[in-house]
């Protein structure tokens, strides 16, 4: 079962076993512009994405 990354209304599928940072890079999402959360907990960039994870990405950039 692959893992899911959710950013606003978009859902991306990624393979488990990769780090958050490499998943973001693969999807061309700047790591600086989001926070990754799993079950409400913040994840650091080096954490491994596990089977069936649903990772919510919180966009941190606002228009100001």
């Amino acid at each position: 079962m692959p893992a899911k990354l959710i950013l606003r209304k978009e859902i991306f599928e990624v393979k488990s076993g990769m780090t958050v940072r490499s998943a973001l890079e693969k999807l061309e999402i700047l790591p600086e512009s989001v926070l990754a959360t799993r079950q409400g907990e913040l994840m650091t960039d080096d954490e491994l994405i596990e089977h069936g994870d649903e990772i919510k990405l919180i966009s941190v950039i606002s228009g100001g």
Partner: protein, 306 residues
Amino acid sequence: MKCKTCGEKAAINMRQHKLALCKEHYLSWIPAQAQRFIAKYKMFSPEDKILVAISGGKDSLALWDILIKLGYQADGLYIGLGIDGGFGYSDKSLHFCQRFADRRGLKMIVVDVAETYGSSIPELNSKTPRGKDKPCAVCGTSKRNLMNRVAREGNYDVLATGHNLDDEAAVLFGNTLNWLDNYLLRQGPVLEAEHSGLVRKVKPLFRFYEREMAAYALLKGIDYIYDECPHSEGAKTIYYKEILNQLESNRPGTKLIFYLNFLKAKERGVFAEPEIRKEEMKACESCGQPTMAPHKCAFCRLVENT
């Protein structure tokens, strides 16, 4: 990754500081850093009465939270712009601010532009002769005027806004791309009141990355409005922030150095004084704030026309 302080699992890693912290230590690190910057840049002291401009977004609510935690006397100011955008943007953002203030028993001043002046920001904008599709210019003029007005009327010593490093670096990037020397001269974390009609302005979060403030709000359980003002979409600021974040991804610390070195250059006198200084500007006949116009300032003329 492990917390540098306690060795537990880290909640956040800040590459620009080579620092990873767990939730508990992050939540104490941020206010401690804020206090360092407040002192270093001589922003205010515990005796000062502070007015915090709040929008319902993560930065301004986090700022208010931090100031209260540090023991400062800080009241909130919410300006109701009357922007709907199909999802009740202004109503929603007021709701987040109200709830934040109520839960903590804090004082919040609400100024609703439509109630006070008869027209909302989008309405004021459509009535201007140069009415553009985006109300941002009218909105900016109005917010500035009202913040000064409320701060002076309430005898506040200082107005604090939630601008973070990404906000400031993006503005600096725009100002530099266009060599807007007057703007560059006036950009900074502390703006003295250069005219009797103005209040002193400070930005206590200016050294924190936007990502750090979002993490603080999240870990602290601060509910904020995640949706943007509908007019900010496609704004230049976001575009500049993205460019800076691309640089940051390859070289952590780039944004911070860009901004801090600008402040140092300014101290060395790289930018010349403008020809017209604020003290020499006239006071608006109606509100007393500085203006180049002969009688009334842009904001007072704007609300009079309606």
